[in-house]
Every structure is written in structure tokens, then in C-alpha cells.
């Protein structure tokens, strides 16, 4: 079962490279996504047995992020299928600077997309730290060509930064892996396997200093990929230049994958009684992320970058939540789920907006509600969702995290959190309202967008809404299980 | 409730037009003139009630309603005001709030009626009227609060009675301040010098008189009468404060009427020896009155 999850998109991806007919290729994409989602659903219903000697297994955290990834991919695949029908294999005019450029061949795009899914799936199912590392690195490599879909200098620059920064981060994570293996080496010469369950079981007899250094290195390494400030620098560039569907996946799924990596580390720390050691770092990085995102969200002129910074913000909130422990972990996980859905929705919508207005500049987008009512409405709904306005799910998760902060006696953290959330809210409000309301210019076409442009974000938005109204029992159980492994008991 | 309890009201109804006659005679005395007859206001009222009316085409039913509502409210207010230590027809805790509210009602409809004509002069008068009365209102109520604190009661009818005697000895300064403030409020509310000049013929400088420029006939009679009543009511407050109480009810009543005339004389004297203040100075006067009573209240705390 677990094998199937990884192999399926892998094979499909390889096939996609050689397929000739675009329609079949797109069909393959959607079909694979559907199958993947189905298998994931089955996994949710009944946890599959571990494979590869325990290297691959699905625990609560894996299950959660696998679910998010698979579902997002499904939604994105619908969008991409429609998108490629319009966008692929034609010369396009750059909306910012007016030059002509090509897009990458569709085969490469779809192939990489499927490989990307395979890599992300591997992240969620691998229990072995080495394998996890390989998988995370693979997500970087598989997504680089996706970011470079539009062949022009800005996307190239974004890709280059993405590659270089993430590679440095991932290299540090490799070092962290080595440190971890040293920590797992016993004086007697024996050593534990680098499998999560093994390490957690023997956490108390790991060599503490090595574990600590390893932990810090993991923070910097996976933190880079997760987009925690000040390691987030690749994020706005990559998100703003990638096609919107890819941005949706990057923000909604990849960041979570890196977060999952860090969760694994924290699980060991907690088991080793070093929970507090990591917590400071989580909180510090989380708060810095909030500050940095506040700085750049306020007065932001590019709406895709705005969304990217909002991802930094949300990763910051999640980090603070994990750092707070207790109910905060529960909140953080819930936040991760909600953020993925909401952010993917917004990125897909930003693709609609970009297609209509031919500009990423907030000031050039006016009157979305009139020009494209459905997109406009969803855009506002997404805005409310991402800022944590009830009855959307992010409200509950933010509330839980705040409550954890207050209950844990971290009043200052809570106040900082509140203050920066307020600042960010102001920045977001300014941008989103200006875009949605008002009267569009005469040159802008009016009329609804296509169904493939509306349905996926609408479904995502609906889910965020549902998660704000009620949290399904199964999800709640999973979140509780994760929280327990991270030293939280809600 | 017998006939006697109607006495203060009846006296007010009958004698109030006399006060302006007294004031005018006092002023004439100071100016060395003979002056108008004591009963001139009665004559005016009589004459006006005989007349027909001319209405501006701009006006509406409100213009006609203004004097009626004004007079009705003033009459109702008159039922609340005691004379000396003779209780009023209607007395209950915090009746002065209803009193102040009814006077507000008078003002509201006078002003609205003035605005109904569309005349810029009447608009000007209306503007000044609401301006000054808004500032006089706090002074009046704080004064009453001080009094109430002194008398430990909340009804106009019982407030003045006990004040008169030993209180003046005990809390003379406090009461003195209140009397001064009430006097200022009286002058402002009744459009007397130094706030307003009822005798001027330059519309630009008037307040009350200019508001009723377009009224005529019975309407004007109503307005005049309610103004006279209003003066009576305010004078009654001052009289109530300063009048010494004797044992005899009738004696008290007589003294009170004499006191009312005395207050009119004082007003006449003030009108004679002072000039009308510049409009920008008036607020200072009224705020000053407010400050006086506030000080009085603070003094009464000790």
C-alpha cells in the first residue's frame, strides 16, 4: 500500500516524459492524482502496514500530511489540466516587461509535477531519517523545473535562488543527519537504526550534545525549506514567479513536508526529554517569521509575493504553536491543515487574476468582484480565511495557539503574536480589499472564469469553512495523536 | 389637592406679565424717563389676541405649532415651580429634570419655528439661542445639584423651603455662589442684558426677539406670554432661595410675590448699569456661572 503511494506517481511521472499526446498526458495527471487520493483515503480509513523494514510507515503525522498533499495535488491537477490547455506550448507576453517568452514543454511540466508528488509522498511515509532527507531533497529538485516553467529571466532567477538556498539548507540537514547518527552511536560501539520509532524508543540514552547540535542543524536545514524567517528568502521569489498552480503546491504541500521533517526531530527531542531545548528555537524562529512577514506584507505591491509572505507568517504561527507545546501543538497541526487549504485556494485564484489582469501588481488589479464575480467572491473568502476570521478554520487554529500561549504563561509571546497578527491583518486587508472592490478598468474583460478555474479553489475554500464549523472526529484524533508525540496533551 | 395648591400656578399665570413691566419701569427710572405703563405687557397681550395673522409662504404647520407647544410646555413647567416655600401643584423627586426638559422643549420648537421661515435673521437668532442655552444648561443643573445636596431632597418644592433658614448661616458662601449663578442663568435664558438686548431694534444683535420676527397675532401673544412665564419661573427659583421663611403661609406667599418684584427690580438695575456683552464674551459668562456652581458643589462636599 505504502509502496503504491510512492511508486504510482513515480511511474506515472516517468511515463509522462515520453507520452506524445497532450490530452493523454493531462488525463494521466488527473488520473494519477485521483488514484493517489483514493489510496490515501484508504490509508486514512485503515492505517497500512509498515514496509521496507519499518523505513516506510504511516504514523499520525505522516497520515495528516499525506492527506493534505494528496488532496491538494488532486485539486491542483484539475486546475493544471485546464491551465495547460490554454497556456502550454505557446509564446506568451510577459505582463510585467512586455517581452515574449516560451513555456517549458508540457511533458517536462507534468512529469516533474508527478515526480514532485512522488517525492512529497515519500516525505510523508518515510520513517527513516536518511530517507526523509533524500525525499525532501528530491522535492526541491523535482520542483525546480516547475518554477522555471515560464522561460524568462525572472523565473530563472527565482529558480536559481530556490536551488541554491534550499541546497545549502538541505546540506546542513544532511550534516544534522550525520550528527544524529553519532548521537545514536553507543559508547559500546553499537548504534540504533535511524528509524524514528527506534530513536524515540531509545531517546533517553542518545548522546545529548550531539543530539542538540543535530537538532539545531535540522532547524536551519529544514527550516530553510519550511520558510521560517530569516531562512525564508527563496520563498517569495519562487512563489511569485512559478505558475500559480505550482505556487499552490509549494506553499500548501512542500512547506508542510519540511515542517514534517522538523516535527520528526522534535518528536525525538521530546522523547529524549529535550522538548524545552527545541521549543525556544521554534518560538524564536516563529516570532521572527511573523515580524519579517509583517514587514513585507505591509505595503506589498505584488499579490503573489504577498501570499508568499503570508506563508512565511503562517509557518511562523505554526512554529510558535509547536514551540508552545500542549494545546499549541494541536493548534499548530490544525493551522497547518487549514493554511494549506486556504493558501492553495488563494494561489489558484491568483492565477485566475493574473490571467485576467495580466499583472501581479496589486495597484493594477481593481474591481475583481465586478470583473469576475465568482473569483472575486472566493478571493475575499480566501482573504477572510487566511487572516483567521471566523467562521473559517484558521480562526480556530490561531485561537488554540493563542490559548496555549496564555495558558502556558507565555503572555508576552501571546501579545507579540496578537500584535503582529494585527499588523499583518491590516496589510492584507489593504491589499485584498483594494483588489476585490471598486470598478475594474474598461480594458479588463468582464465575465465569469472557467469552471476549472473556480471549482478547485471553491472546494478548498468550502473545506476551510467546514473546518471552522466543525472538526471531524477522525481528524481530531489524528491531531491529538500528533500532539501527544510532541509533548502536548490537549 | 385643593384650591390652595393651585395658588403658585395661578399667581404665576396672573402676575408674570407684570415682571417685565417692573423691569421696564426700573430701567426708565435709571434713564430718567417716565417709561411704559406697569401693565403694558397685559395690554400688548390683549391687543395681540384680538388680531388676525400673516404667515410667510415658506412656513409650514411647524411654524404655527411652535408658539402653541412653547406655551403648553411653559405652562406645564409652571405647575412644577413652587413659590417661596409654597409647594407646587406637582412635586416629586427630581421634578426639576422635567422642568428643565420642558424648557428644552420650548426652546426646540421656538428654534424650529424660527428656522421654518427661512429668514437668515431668524436663523441667526436661533443659532445663538441654542448656543447660549446649551451652555446655561449645565450651570442650571449643577446649581440645582448643589442645592439638592444642601437640602437633601430632590424636589423643587422641598428644596427651597429648608434652604432659607439656618443654611444661609451654615453654608452662606455656597448658597451665595448658587444665587449668583442662577441669576446669570436667568439673564441668559430670558434674553436679558448683558446676554441679549430685548429693546434693540438692530436685528443683527438680538437673540430672542429676532427669532419671533415673523410671528404675529395670537401666535405672538403666546410667545410673549410664555416668555413672561419663563421669567417668572426663574425668578421664583431665586426668590425661593433667598426668602426667609416665616411661620405664616399667607405671609410667606405675600413675601414671595414681593420677592419676585424685587428680583425684577434687580434685573432692571442690572440692565440699566450694564451694556450688552459682545457675543463672544457671553460663553465665558455662562461657563463662568457653571464654574461658580461647580465650586459651590465642591465646597458643599466638605
Amino acid at each position: 500500500m505504502i509502496f503504491a503511494l510512492v511508486i504510482l506517481p513515480l511511474l506515472a511521472g516517468l511515463v509522462a516524459f515520453v507520452l506524445r499526446r497532450p490530452a493523454i498526458r493531462r488525463g494521466l495527471l488527473v488520473g494519477t492524482a485521483l488514484m493517489h487520493a483514493t489510496v490515501t483515503a484508504i490509508c486514512w480509513a485503515a492505517t497500512p502496514a509498515p514496509a521496507l523494514g519499518g523505513w516506510l510507515a504511516l504514523d499520525a503525522a505522516g497520515l495528516l500530511f499525506l492527506g493534505i498533499t494528496s488532496f491538494l495535488f488532486l485539486m491542483v491537477s484539475f486546475y493544471v489540466a485546464g491551465y495547460l490547455g490554454e497556456e502550454a506550448n505557446r509564446r506568451a507576453t510577459d505582463p510585467e516587461e512586455g517581452f515574449l517568452f516560451d513555456n517549458a514543454p508540457e511533458a517536462v511540466f507534468i512529469g516533474c509535477l508527478l515526480l514532485f508528488l512522488a517525492a512529497m509522498t515519500l516525505v510523508t511515509v518515510s520513517q527513516h531519517f536518511g530517507l526523509l532527507w533524500v525525499a525532501i531533497e528530491a522535492t526541491t529538485l523535482a520542483s525546480a523545473p516547475l518554477i522555471y516553467f515560464h522561460r524568462h529571466h525572472r523565473s530563472l532567477e527565482a529558480t536559481w535562488k530556490y536551488l541554491l538556498i534550499c541546497s545549502v539548507g538541505i546540506a546542513l540537514a544532511l550534516l544534522a543527519n550525520f550528527f544524529l547518527s553519532v548521537a545514536a552511536t553507543q559508547k559500546s560501539g553499537g548504534a540504533f537504526a535511524m528509524v524514528l520509532s527506534e530513536l524515540v524508543a531509545h531517546a533517553t540514552i542518545l548522546q545529548t550534545p550531539w543530539l542538540k547540535v543535530s537538532c539545531l542543524l535540522f532547524f536551519v536545514g529544514y527550516g530553510t525549506k519550511m520558510g521560517l524567517a530569516p531562512l525564508h528568502t527563496w520563498l517569495p521569489d519562487a512563489h511569485s514567479e512559478a505558475p500559480s498552480a505550482v505556487s499552490a503546491l509549494l506553499s500548501g504541500a512542500v512547506l508542510n513536508c519540511a515542517f514534517l521533517g522538523l516535527v520528526r526531530v522534535q518528536q525525538i527531542c521530546v522523547a529524549a526529554g529535550l522538548g524545552d531545548f527545541g521549543r525556544d528555537v521554534w518560538i524564536a524562529l516563529g516570532l521572527i517569521s511573523l515580524v519579517v512577514s509583517a514587514v513585507f506584507i505591509l505595503g506589498q505591491t505584488d499579490y503573489k509575493r504577498l501570499l508568499a509572505y503570508s506563508s512565511v507568517e503562517n509557518m511562523g504561527i505554526i512554529a510558535v504553536g509547536v514551540g508552545l507545546g500542549g494545546a499549541g501543538v494541536f493548534g499548530a497541526m490544525l493551522q497547518a491543515v487549514n493554511h494549506s487549504l486556504a493558501k492553495a485556494m488563494l494561489f489558484l485564484l491568483s492565477g485566475n487574476i493574473l490571467a485576467r489582469y495580466q499583472s501581479k501588481n496589486i495597484a493594477r488589479v481593481r474591481g475583481l468582484l465586478m470583473a469576475a464575480p465568482a473569483t472575486g467572491l472566493l478571493w475575499l473568502a480566501g482573504f477572510l480565511a487566511i487572516t483567521g476570521t471566523p467562521p473559517f478554520g484558521l480562526f480556530l487554529s490561531k485561537f488554540t495557539i493563542l490559548k496555549a500561549a496564555f495558558d502556558g504563561g507565555h503572555v508576552w509571546i501571546a501579545l507579540l503574536l496578537l500584535a503582529f497578527l494585527a499588523v499583518i491583518f491590516i496589510g492584507m486587508t489593504t491589499a485584498f480589499l483594494a483588489m476585490a472592490q471598486g470598478e475594474p478598468e474598461k480594458t479588463i474583460n468582464r465575465g465569469e472564469d472557467r469552471w476549472w478555474q473556480i471549482m478547485p479553489p471553491a472546494v478548498l475554500g468550502f473545506l476551510v469553512l467546514c473546518l471552522g464549523l466543525t472538526i471531524p472526529a477522525k481528524l481530531s484524533t489524528v491531531l491529538h495523536q500528533i500532539a501527544l508525540t510532541l509533548g502536548g496533551a490537549q | 389637592m385643593n384650591f390652595i395648591s393651585f395658588l403658585p400656578l395661578l399667581l404665576a399665570l396672573v402676575l408674570s406679565p407684570l415682571l417685565s413691566g417692573v423691569i421696564n419701569r426700573t430701567k426708565a427710572l435709571f434713564a430718567g424717563r417716565h417709561g411704559q405703563p406697569w401693565l403694558q405687557t397685559y395690554f400688548d397681550l390683549w391687543k395681540l389676541l384680538q388680531k388676525g395673522a400673516v404667515y410667510s409662504r415658506t412656513t409650514t404647520w411647524l411654524f404655527r405649532a411652535g408658539p402653541i407647544i412653547g406655551l403648553a410646555a411653559t405652562l406645564t413647567a409652571a405647575m412644577l415651580m413652587p413659590l417661596g416655600n409654597f409647594p407646587a401643584l406637582i412635586a416629586f423627586p427630581a421634578d426639576f429634570l422635567l422642568f428643565a426638559g420642558l424648557l428644552g422643549m420650548v426652546r426646540f420648537f421656538m428654534v424650529v419655528a424660527a428656522l421654518d421661515t427661512g429668514s437668515s435673521f431668524e436663523g441667526m437668532g436661533a443659532s445663538r439661542e441654542v448656543f447660549f442655552s446649551a451652555l446655561a444648561e449645565p450651570a442650571l443643573l449643577v446649581a440645582l445639584a448643589t442645592l439638592a445636596r444642601q437640602a437633601h431632597t430632590l424636589s423643587l418644592s422641598t428644596m427651597f423651603g429648608p434652604v432659607s433658614g439656618a443654611h444661609w448661616l451654615q453654608a452662606g458662601p455656597v448658597l451665595m455662589l448658587v444665587v449668583i449663578a442662577l441669576m446669570i442663568v436667568l439673564l441668559a435664558e430670558n434674553a436679558r442684558i448683558p446676554v441679549d438686548d430685548p429693546d434693540t431694534h438692530l436685528e443683527l444683535t438680538m437673540i430672542h426677539e429676532v427669532m419671533v420676527l415673523d410671528h404675529g397675532g395670537p401666535d405672538l401673544a403666546f410667545v410673549l406670554y410664555s416668555s413672561a412665564l419663563k421669567l417668572w419661573l426663574f425668578a421664583a427659583m431665586i426668590v425661593g432661595m433667598v426668602l426667609p421663611a416665616t411661620g405664616n403661609v399667607w405671609m410667606n406667599l405675600l413675601l414671595a410675590v414681593v420677592g419676585m418684584l424685587a428680583v425684577s427690580v434687580v434685573v432692571g438695575v442690572i440692565e440699566s448699569v450694564m451694556a450688552r456683552l459682545r457675543l463672544v464674551i457671553v460663553p465665558q459668562l455662562l461657563v463662568g456661572a457653571g464654574a461658580l456652581v461647580a465650586v459651590a458643589f465642591l465646597l458643599s462636599l466638605a
Binding site: I165, W234, V295, A414 | L141
Partner: protein, 662 residues
């Protein structure tokens, strides 16, 4: 059960409206308004039952969200707020049917009715929720729905700006509420209002912090000066029936929240009362002063909401002083007056906004100085507006007088018997209320006089017409309500009994006794009022008799000898208010632009005055600008240079290592 069905009707109606009214051709406003009316009727039944002494309804349903529970309860306090909320919602909805007609052919009305339903639902839930999560969800639902209603005409720049200010302000308020609720939750270990009320907060310092948080959080919604900035922007921007609803009842949820918060916080120290009196004074006086200085009818009314919230705050302040000193009289009269004013303000401010809406509907402008003489063209609207104007000025025999009477009475009763620390703030209440009342008369004679009386000042008026019955009926009903409450004063105050027991936590006998004393006074007030009305009737007859056989002529207005008066010579709103605004210029910051007449034969001259909101201009704008400037100094971080980015990574690593291995 009634309540749940009312909410279900609202939700159902809102969704149906959204789904059905998609195209301008499908605009059946009744479809949106009817469920609101129905829900109001259904919802009022239990509320009135509770007020009349019926049992308190509770309703628990597990709600699977963290810390959440669907726990609603209709206690007397909630019921007291619920009744005006539902009534005004229904009347405004009926009004909205007519008011929205001009848009019918232009755009789908589904969204506005959807959000209208949501707003009513949100307000209901806010009043009923007894779980902090549910409360916050309802609170934000209310904010979001009203935001969309405010920005109904978002194609106009000014409306968008107003929407922004409103949304940001309300959100910032919520931030404080979050802190408030979470601190309480930490102290008590529960999210349940019932537990909070039962346990109370016994640490003085913490209670003080909570009090401040509640005042700021709820005060932002209520419109306490200087947290009121959104009010004068949002109310004019919104469609008038929405302004009526927001100003009449939505801002009262802030008052409700504050009163609910008081029940959690234990015995208040004296300074809370001082604080609320100070807030009430500043809101009341500055509110009415700013109102005086406005030329925009709806903006003027919006500032009056600030004023009336100030009056309510004065009442609450008196009540708090009573709670600190254990004086039942102060508690009952202060809270009672405040509560009664909540109801009264809902009626007359709703009425006034609807009246203003009719004016806008008829003439297409909100500029007071462009109007005039509307009484002849819109007699019903004018009469209704007049009733509202008299009521809001706090004049007998209408309802505005009553609530102020109670607060005054409380302040006087306390003022004559207590010592300095209580008596001085009570004196401030007395002086403040008096000043506010006087200024309110000034303001509403201006608003009514300039808009409805005199001659038309521009051609806007010539287009004016009386509104149809859907818009007239709600206004008349509200006017009748204003008069009715005024004349049924003792009954109304009697119905406060249970609410006051709820708020003051005094024994019923104590409350009843204090109320009985008051009721006696009120009976006399009513006698006075009836006498007054009888006298009016009598004088009307007298006047008719006198004039019956005399000549009654018509002519032009007397122009003091000037033969050719024109409409441009009339006093305007600006000139009417000028003496007062000049006096209070330091507080108002009015800007004057005068091009004085020059030369012997001046060709033209103009005077323009403008009074922007002082706290917005002098406080919030600089604060926001400074904050943004300060934050944007960090923008070099994202410099574009990949080397720098790698340096961040290295530096982070180093800092973490040093931090953890020092």
C-alpha cells in the same frame, strides 16, 4: 426552541436570498426581508417572556471544535438587548425593500440580503452565546457581514475607504477581546460564561487589566471616543437601512459585551466607574460637538451615535460607582438608565437613519446645506424625523428623556448623599449630561431645521418625493415606539426589574424597592407629559377659535426691510453651528477655507469649513504612518542578493549554536 428556529429561519433566508437573487432580473427583495421579519417575530416571543418573568432558556449542544460548545442562553440581560435588535432588524428590513429599489435593475441584490441575514444572525448569537469561542465566532460573523453591507456601493472610493477603516478598527477591537477572553479562560480554566460569572476574578490587578481590555475591545464596537473612528466613516457609507441597524443595535453589542464582562469581574474598584464616566463624558460631549460641525446628514447622525454611547457609558459609570460602593440606588438607576437608553437609542437612531435614508432616497444627496424645505415634499418623513429629533434631544414627553432622567436621577441621588470620590464623578455626570442635552438640541434643531424647513437650497430638493409605504411604515412605527415608551415610562422601567437583578446581582426585593421609588417619580413625569399634551390640544383649539373669524394672510418672510430675499440668503447648517464650533475649535480642529469678498464690488466669496475626525487625523493616521515607516526600515532584508540570503542562513546557524552552547 423559538430561538433556534429564529436562527434557522435567518440562515435559511440568507442562503436562499444569495442563491436566488443572482441576476438583476431576479431581485425580489421581499425574499430577503421576509425571513428577517419572521425570525424577529419568532425570536421576540421568548425574549419578552423572559423579561416578563418567564424561565431562563438554556441550550447546550456539543460542538466539535477546540474549546467550543454550542451553548446559548436567554437570560434577562440578553433578552433586553435581543428585543430591540430583532425589532429594528425587522423594520429596517422592510424599509430596505423600498430603499434598495433603485439598485434593483442594476445589480444582484442577493449578497446584500445574504449579509443582512447574517448580520442579524450574528447579533443574535452574540447576545445569546455563553461560550467564548461561539461568542467570538458570532462577533466576527457580525463584523464581516456588516463590513460587506457597509461596502455595498464599493465602486465609490469613499465607501471603500470607509470599509477599510471599519474592518481594521473592528478587527483591532477583536484582538483586545481575544486577549480578554483568553486571560479569563486562563484564570478560570474554562470557556464557559456561566463558570466565569460564578467564579469571578479576585485578583485586583488582573481584574483591572481585564477591565481595560474589555473597555477597549467592546468600546471599539460601541464607539467610545477615541475608539470611534470607524463610526463616522462606516455609517454614511452604508445603505441607510443598514446604517440604522448598525447604529441602532449593532454598536450596542459592545455595550452588551461590556455589561456581560462586568458580571465576570467581581466587585469593581472605584476607578472603573471614574474611567467609564470619563469615557462617557468625552464620547458624549465630543460626539455631539463633532456632530454639530458636520455637513453630511448621515455623518452627523453617526457622531450622534458616539454621543449616545457616551450617555450610556455615563449610565454604566454611575452603575459601576454604585457597585463599588454597594449602593443599590446608583446601581439600579445607572445601569437601568443605560439599559433603557440602549432601547431608546435603538428606536430613535433607527428612526433618524431611516429618515435620513428617505431624504437621500428622495433627493440623492446627504449634504445638509443642499437641502431645505423638504417638509412640504416629504411630510411623513419630516414628521417622523421630527419625532426622532425631539427624542434624541432628550426632551419630554418622548423616550429619550426617560433614560436620561434615570441616569440623572441616579447621579443626583448619589450626588446629594455620597462623599467626594463618588460625588465628584457624579457631578461630572450631571454637568456632562446637561451639556450634552443642550448641545443635542442645538444639533437637531440644525439637522431638522435646515433639511426640512425653509426653502430648498439646491435643485436636489426639487426631485424630492415622499417615499412609499414600505419605507414610511417602519419610520412611523419607530416614531410611535418613541412616543409610546415615553408615555408608558413606569411600565418600561418596571420591565427592567429582571435585567437589573441579572446585572447587579442584588436581591430582587432591593431592586424592586429602588425601582418602585423611581416608578413613582416617573408616574409624575407621565402626568406632566399628559398635561402638556392636553394643554397643546387646548391651545390648538384656542388658537383656532381666535383666528376663526379673523383675516389670515400669506406673504413672504419678513426680510428686515430687504425687498428681494433669495433662498441663498438662508442660514445654512455651517452658519447655524458656527458659534458653537468656533467656541470648541480647539477640540474640533475645524478647518476653514475663506475667500473673503474683496474690493468695492466683490464678485464672489466663499467659505468652506470641514471638520475631519480629530482622533483619526491626529492620532491614528500618524500612528499608522509611523508604524509603517518603522517596519519598512527592515525592508532591506529582502535585498535580492542570493549571497546575502546564504549569509542569513550561516548567521542563523551561528547564532543558534552560540545561543544554545554558550
Amino acid at each position: 426552541m423559538w430561538l433556534l428556529s429564529a436562527m434557522a429561519v435567518l440562515l435559511y433566508g440568507a442562503v436562499v436570498a444569495l442563491l436566488l437573487m443572482k441576476r438583476p432580473s431576479l431581485n425580489y427583495s421581499w425574499l430577503g426581508a421576509f425571513p428577517v421579519v419572521l425570525a424577529a417575530i419568532i425570536g421576540c416571543i421568548p425574549a419578552i417572556q423572559v423579561l416578563l418573568g418567564g424561565p431562563v432558556e438554556q441550550f447546550h449542544v456539543p460542538w466539535p471544535v477546540p474549546f467550543g460548545e454550542f451553548f446559548i442562553e436567554l437570560d434577562p440581560l440578553s433578552a433586553w438587548f435581543l428585543v430591540p435588535t430583532l425589532l429594528l432588524s425587522a423594520l429596517s428590513a422592510i424599509y430596505g425593500v423600498g430603499y434598495l429599489r433603485p439598485w434593483q435593475s442594476k445589480r444582484p441584490l442577493g449578497p446584500i440580503w445574504f449579509f443582512y441575514g447574517l448580520l442579524v444572525l450574528g447579533m443574535m448569537l452574540v447576545l445569546l452565546a455563553r461560550n467564548a469561542v461561539l461568542f467570538l465566532v458570532a462577533w466576527e460573523l457580525m463584523a464581516v457581514a456588516s463590513f460587506f453591507l457597509v461596502t455595498f456601493e464599493h465602486e465609490r472610493q469613499s465607501v471603500r475607504e470607509a470599509g477599510w477603516i471599519y474592518f481594521v478598527a473592528t478587527h483591532l477591537g477583536t484582538v483586545f477581546l481575544l486577549a480578554f477572553f483568553l486571560l479569563l479562560a486562563r484564570e478560570t480554566g474554562s470557556m464557559d460564561f456561566a463558570v466565569w460569572a460564578a467564579q469571578g476574578i479576585h485578583t485586583q490587578g488582573l481584574a483591572g487589566v481585564l477591565f481595560l481590555l474589555a473597555v477597549i475591545g467592546f468600546g471599539t464596537k460601541a464607539g467610545f471616543m477615541p475608539l470611534h473612528v470607524w463610526l463616522p466613516e462606516a455609517h454614511p457609507a452604508a445603505p441607510s437601512h443598514v446604517s440604522a441597524l448598525m447604529s441602532g443595535v449593532m454598536i450596542k453589542t459592545g455595550i452588551y459585551g461590556l455589561m456581560r464582562a462586568f458580571t465576570f469581574l467581581g466587585t469593581p474598584p472605584l476607578w472603573w466607574g471614574w474611567g467609564l464616566v470619563a469615557i462617557g463624558l468625552s464620547s458624549g460631549v465630543l460626539g455631539v460637538l463633532f456632530a454639530l460641525a458636520q455637513h453630511d446628514l448621515k455623518r452627523l447622525l453617526a457622531y450622534h451615535s458616539v454621543e449616545n454611547i457616551g450617555i450610556i457609558a455615563l449610565g454604566l459609570g454611575v452603575g459601576l460607582l454604585g457597585m463599588s460602593t454597594g449602593s443599590a440606588v446608583l446601581m439600579v438607576l445607572g445601569f437601568g438608565g443605560g439599559l433603557l437608553h440602549v432601547l431608546n437609542h435603538a428606536l430613535f437612531k433607527g428612526l433618524l437613519f431611516l429618515g435620513a435614508g428617505s431624504v437621500v432616497h428622495g433627493t440623492g444627496t446627504r449634504e445638509i446645506d443642499h437641502l431645505g424645505g423638504l417638509l412640504k415634499r416629504m411630510p411623513w418623513t419630516a414628521a417622523a424625523f421630527l419625532v426622532g429629533a425631539v427624542a434624541i434631544s432628550g426632551l419630554p414627553p418622548l423616550n429619550g428623556f426617560l433614560s436620561e432622567f434615570l441616569i440623572f436621577l441616579g447621579a443626583f441621588k448619589g450626588g446629594i448623599s455620597t462623599g467626594g470620590p463618588v460625588a465628584v464623578p457624579l457631578l461630572v455626570v450631571i454637568a456632562g449630561l446637561a451639556l450634552i442635552g443642550g448641545l443635542a438640541v442645538a444639533c437637531f434643531t440644525k439637522a431638522f431645521g435646515i433639511v426640512f424647513l425653509g426653502e430648498a437650497r439646491s435643485e436636489h430638493v426639487s426631485r424630492a418625493h415622499e417615499v412609499d409605504w414600505t419605507m414610511r411604515l417602519p419610520m412611523l412605527m419607530l416614531a410611535a415606539g418613541c412616543a409610546g415608551i415615553g408615555l408608558c415610562a413606569p411600565v418600561m422601567v418596571g420591565s427592567l426589574q429582571r435585567v437589573l437583578e441579572n446585572v447587579t446581582t442584588q436581591r430582587p426585593e432591593v431592586v424592586r424597592m429602588t425601582l418602585a421609588n423611581t416608578t413613582a417619580s416617573l408616574l409624575f413625569v407621565v402626568i406632566g407629559a399628559v398635561t402638556f399634551l392636553l394643554l397643546v390640544a387646548m391651545l390648538v383649539l384656542v388658537r383656532r377659535g381666535l383666528l376663526s373669524d379673523r383675516r389670515v394672510d400669506e406673504s413672504v418672510t419678513w426680510g428686515c426691510g430687504y425687498p428681494q430675499p433669495t433662498v441663498r440668503m438662508q442660514y445654512t447648517a455651517s452658519s447655524f453651528a458656527q458659534p458653537l464650533t468656533d467656541l470648541f475649535r480647539p477640540l474640533l480642529g475645524t478647518r476653514k477655507k475663506l475667500s473673503a469678498p474683496r474690493g468695492l464690488f466683490p464678485a464672489e466669496a466663499a467659505l468652506k469649513t470641514e471638520t475631519p475626525d480629530l482622533s483619526r487625523e491626529e492620532m491614528y493616521r500618524p500612528m499608522f504612518e509611523r508604524g509603517e515607516r518603522w517596519l519598512s526600515q527592515l525592508r532591506w532584508l529582502q535585498h535580492g542578493n542570493v549571497q546575502l540570503y546564504i549569509l542569513y542562513i550561516a548567521a542563523t546557524l551561528l547564532v543558534l549554536l552560540v545561543w544554545k552552547f554558550r
